[in-house]
């Protein structure tokens, strides 16, 4: 059977696709379809699921906590994505210089990316403590008179966690931009030099337009990452105080694994999926248009 298939060249590519298809099918598409189906059921993981039509969605839309976590997720998105799109460009330009020992700086900026988030979360927890590093430094500089309870008051907890996400993501997106920068032909800068462009003009007229495809990638990737944020919150605040730092994925997690409301959690998961999809499409549309101009 195998020999015959191999003889027909047209089928050969599919054979190469087969392992990928099986893995994707078994671990991505099958669970995804199952989650969609589960979102219409009442399922506690032990007894058999029972079909409840749209009840989970109805309950979800009436749950204040769901709206609150959705709002938190959007705040997260608005706060984190611009920082993660813009800041790494400057970092990348910085480490793209031909300096001695630049390799050291590149790795230094990249270290947060490879650091385990659990370790980083605990370390940042210490930084944010009332008698922690941040309050100590601010006190030293006479900026504050009373220590600020960064992670333990509702006003600051979410933002404190956002900073960790940005800190951790900078290096990763920097590498993407760095690859982009190195793909810009030197001749463009030479031409700009001949035209008498200064540093800023070269940045805005050459570097950034040439980086646009990379900006698009980074925007989509960082938005998806921001929508799915979980570990930082799980480790640093547990969603508290008073759900002020609870995001949608954390909400899904507690519903699914603490309360065993699998069907309900799946419904929230489907909403998250749709939101992510919409955001990615908007990104593609808007940024893609810019790009073609």
């Amino acid at each position: 059977m195998g020999c015959e298939t191999l003889r027909t060249n047209k089928l050969t590519p599919y054979l190469f696709l087969l392992p990928g298809c099986i893995i994707l099918g078994a671990f991505i598409f099958y669970p995804m379809l199952q989650a969609i189906w589960m979102s219409f059921t009442d399922y506690n993981m032990v007894t058999d699921p029972s079909f409840v039509k749209l009840d989970n969605y109805k309950d979800l839309f009436q749950d204040d906590l769901f709206w609150k976590t959705l709002k938190n997720t959007l705040i997260y998105l608005i706060g984190v994505v611009p920082a993660l799109v813009v800041l790494p460009i400057f970092l990348a330009v910085l480490v793209n210089q031909k300096l001695k020992g630049i390799g050291f700086f590149r790795s230094a900026y990249y270290i947060p990316v490879v650091t385990s988030l659990v370790v980083a979360g605990i370390a940042w927890d210490w930084v944010y403590k009332e008698n922690g590093l941040l309050n100590y430094v601010l006190d030293l500089l006479n900026i504050i008179s009373e220590p600020i309870p960064w992670l333990t008051q509702t006003q600051t907890a979410l933002f404190a966690v956002m900073l960790v996400t940005v800190w951790k993501g900078l290096g990763y997106y920097m590498i993407i931009y760095l690859a982009g920068l190195q793909s810009i032909p030197e001749s463009l800068y030479e031409a700009a030099d001949i035209d008498g462009a200064n540093w800023w003009q070269k940045m805005t007229r050459v570097t950034i337009p040439m980086l646009m495809p990379f900006v698009l990638i980074v925007t989509i990737m960082s938005s998806i990452a921001a929508m799915k944020v979980f570990e930082e919150i799980y480790i640093m605040t547990g969603g508290g105080p008073l759900h002020s730092s609870e995001t949608l994925v954390f909400y899904i997690y507690t519903q699914a694994f603490d309360r065993l409301n699998m069907g309900y959690a799946s419904a929230a998961g489907v909403i998250l999926f749709l939101l992510t999809l919409v955001f990615s499409l908007i990104n593609l549309k808007v940024m893609g248009k810019d790009n073609s101009e």
Binding site: M1, T5, T8, K10, L11, Y14, L18, C21, I22, G25, A26, N44, M45, V46, T47, E130, N131, P149, L151, T152, Q153, T154, T237, G238, G240, P241, L242, H243, F257, D258, R259, L260
Partner: protein, 433 residues
């Protein structure tokens, strides 16, 4: 086009082959082999909660003894980190691969029992065997009238006091706080004199509910259908913690941190006293100087005079194919001899009446260390200690509702009374489900 379809069919066949291969392999594994003598050879899977590496030899010793007495049963032991256990057992039950004997805490065990996933021990264990266990511990594992677990080891909460901070604040370390009022008073003095925190009450997990019960509030009416904590006692609990928190007399981590943060701060010498007998071995290992300075004392309690008892259980999931052998092993694991031996390794109390009668739990030698004192104080409180928060349906939602309410009060977003009203409303909704 035809070729394409043919190819897709091929793909499907291959996928199915792969999948079915996985399935049949599993099936082969779960079948029991028969040994030469014709007796059925049984393998039991046994899960414990975070006992390795400290108790590896102890558990292996029990398994060896048991296998010696029951040559046709083999025990396969797996130790699971505490934080993963509930998720692991859940996925095992979902995929129909549940272990045969599992060590669980009552809260999670009751969640599984609610779903009818655990063997009813009232039926599986003879009255004679039942009588061997401390009554309160046996009854602690009851939901909807069925007993879903065999009690294993117990502890009652004991306060650990840092002698050095007491002395620094001019307080007598021989007179530690035993009531909530004293705790608040000491916290104030210690904060003023030393700048350190006196008291660190954790609000993690079921602790908010436990504090309320100790302060004299009833959580629900007798048949568990309505909230009963919107009372002067319940209000007292809310006001008590709100005041301590807003006056800065307890660390802000009391609200957001888990129990780990209590032991971190105590070990760092930043907290004078807290309820943490379960951490005594950790203090001994991590902070030997502080350990020498630690005085264990009777648990802090309120109007009810009750103290917290924690129970660790052994359950048998209904999915087991060898219920009889599994229950047999669970009883062996928790018998008097084995439990006594266990409590000599760490300050826990046996749930076995016979083992508990040993002088080891009543008499402190001249060279008694803090761990010995923890054990003796803990045993002396057994009469007044009980499982303060009984297993309840939709427990996690109830717990979260109360935690959210007291958080709102402590953070100043609501008055204690408003928060209590909100919690009552939510509890009534959840209890009516």
């Amino acid at each position: 086009m035809k070729k394409k379809l043919g190819f897709l069919a091929l793909l499907l066949v291959i996928t199915m082959l792969v999948v079915s291969a996985c399935g049949s392999k599993d099936e082969g594994k779960s079948k029991d082999s028969k040994n030469a003598s014709g007796d059925e050879q049984i393998e039991l899977e046994f899960w414990t909660m975070q006992l390795q590496p400290t108790f590896t030899d102890y558990i292996n010793g029990i398994i060896k003894d048991f296998e010696g007495e029951n040559p046709n049963i083999k025990i396969k032991w797996l130790d699971v980190p505490a934080a993963d256990l509930s998720k692991k057992i859940l996925s095992a039950v979902t995929t129909n691969t549940a272990p045969d004997v599992v060590n669980l805490n009552p809260t999670f065990a009751s969640q599984l029992a609610e779903l009818d996933a655990l063997v009813n021990m009232d039926e599986a264990v003879s009255d004679e065997d039942k009588a061997l266990y401390v009554k309160g511990a046996w009854e602690a594992n009851n939901i909807n009238g069925t007993t879903f677990a065999i009690p294993w080891y117990l502890s009652t909460s004991v306060t650990l006091n840092n002698k050095a901070i007491f002395e620094e604040a001019g307080l007598d370390p021989e007179k530690p706080a035993t009531t909530y009022e004293e705790a608040a008073e000491y916290a104030k003095i210690i904060k003023e004199k030393t700048g350190k925190y006196g008291y660190f009450p954790s609000m993690d997990l079921s602790l908010v509910l436990q504090h309320m019960v100790m302060m004299g509030a009833d959580l629900t009416n007798e048949d568990g259908t309505k909230a009963a904590f919107n009372s002067p006692e319940g209000l007292y609990a809310f006001e008590y913690f709100t005041k301590l928190y807003q006056d800065g007399l307890i660390p802000r981590e009391a609200l957001t941190g888990d129990q780990r943060s209590t032991i971190d701060m105590y070990q760092a010498g930043q907290v004078a006293f807290f309820d943490g007998s379960q951490f005594i071995v950790q203090v001994k290992e991590n902070a030997p100087d502080l350990y020498a300075n630690t005085i264990p004392s009777q648990a802090i309690t309120g109007k009810s005079g009750k103290k917290t008892m924690s129970v660790q259980n052994v359950v048998v999931p209904k999915q087991t194919k060898h219920q009889e052998a599994a229950v047999k092993f669970a009883l062996f694991l928790t018998n008097g001899k084995n439990q006594l031996e266990f409590s000599k390794l760490t300050p826990i109390l046996p749930s076995n009446v016979e083992a508990l009668a040993d002088p080891y739990f009543t008499e402190a030698g001249d060279d008694a260390e803090p761990t010995d004192l923890v054990r003796i104080v803990s045993a002396s409180q057994l009469d007044s200690a009980e499982l303060l928060v009984p297993p309840m349906k939709n427990y996690d939602e109830l717990r979260q509702a109360m935690y959210d309410a007291i958080s709102a009060s402590m953070l100043g977003e609501m008055t204690p009374q408003e928060a209590l009203d909100q919690a009552e409303q939510e509890w009534n909704d959840i209890l009516a489900k």
